[in-house]
Symmetry: C2
Subunit: 216 residues, 2 copies
């Protein structure tokens, strides 16, 4: 939902759009099918990059021997679904693509509000990455490198839901569940935060388990 909202916002600005997804060993590869549909919805070219960082281990998101937690992770604790260095790798590949296609900006769905346990979703991290990007590439050193744009950085999940609906994201196509099934589990952190936000934004019919969630 976060990435789709960023794409919807960029579509409003009349950019030429190239959407970038990653097959990195995640359980929930269904998100790649959904990403293709949503990219098409917004008229974006869609690229999928394969990178097997999931094989390094250490995350419940990619290691089938670990369980995806079914209880809420306490605030400030790093969830076991944390994939070491994932955003750093994703942004690096995005910068490579941006330079190869001459893109002026790289739009990211990171948000610092509801995932405070993740180290690589915070404003200081993003600022440091911009500094690096400006030194890392030919374009950056010439002052025409891609800008990192993170419009959701300070948004709550409810803000994101409202923005998604405002820019015409087909929310029913977006996929958030980490557990890897064909239906969202409704219990992992990602389902939980999404469902609470959809209900708070007045759209319980879009929640993964609307009946239970609305009653709980």
């Amino acid at each position: 939902m976060d990435s789709s909202t960023v794409l919807g916002l960029a579509a409003q600005a009349d950019h030429r759009l190239v959407a970038l997804s990653f097959r990195y060993g995640q359980r929930h590869t269904i998100e790649l099918e959904r990403a293709a549909l949503i990219a098409a919805h917004f008229g974006a070219e869609h690229r999928v990059v394969d990178i097997n960082i999931g094989s390094f281990g250490g995350s419940a998101l990619t290691d089938k021997r670990l369980e995806v937690p079914q209880e809420a992770t306490p605030a400030g604790v790093v969830p076991t679904t944390y994939v070491p260095g994932r955003n750093t790798v994703f942004i690096a590949v995005g910068l490579s693509l941006a330079e190869a296609v001459g893109a002026s900006s790289l739009h990211l769905g990171i948000t610092a509000v509801d995932y405070s346990g993740y180290p690589d979703c915070r404003p200081d991290y993003l600022a440091a990455y911009q500094t690096l990007a400006d030194l890392a590439t030919v374009a950056g050193r010439e002052g025409r490198g891609a800008r990192l744009v993170a419009p959701l950085l300070e948004m709550s999940k409810v803000d994101i839901v409202q923005t998604a609906l405002a820019v015409g994201v087909p929310v029913e196509l977006t996929w958030s569940c980490y557990s890897g099934g064909n239906e969202p589990c409704g219990r992992c952190d990602s389902c939980r935060i999404r469902d609470e936000a959809l209900i708070a934004a007045g759209h319980p019919e879009l929640a993964s388990r609307p009946a239970q969630a609305a009653l709980s």
Copy 2:
């Protein structure tokens, strides 16, 4: 030769060694076979990560429609073999692996001296990456993140050759040629710089075309 020298230096320090190579669409995949041999020589575990950034285009190193230059690139000019964002991606993946395996340092073969045309082989770039790394990972924010170590950063190629021989690198196994054949071409920038350094260090017999090079 640069990466192998870094591995040889790390082997002297009695680290547990994990060597990381990339299959990124380069013409010269023979470097991966050689990397496996050299990793084994130093008792390092060897990992190969597939990442198709070469498909983004824009570099003679990965785009078979472009020619690998057979003339020396003038100082200060970015060579056409530049792959957009390559080192940024490689280091990001290295940091991910470092965190997953609990490594205390990530050793890089970048050198600022003989490749001044590359933006991502310079001290300011490396310092900015360390700042990012310390914010990017759980380990980094807890003050126990991997240190980026670049022992060749200020070395000339002749210094590197001498260091390689001093730490027991099997130089004859190292592969530098960018052109993608089964024998080094002896003409691309990478061969040229290597051969000049081997000859200057007193080892013309290790150069790719020792007879011609020694006579020229």
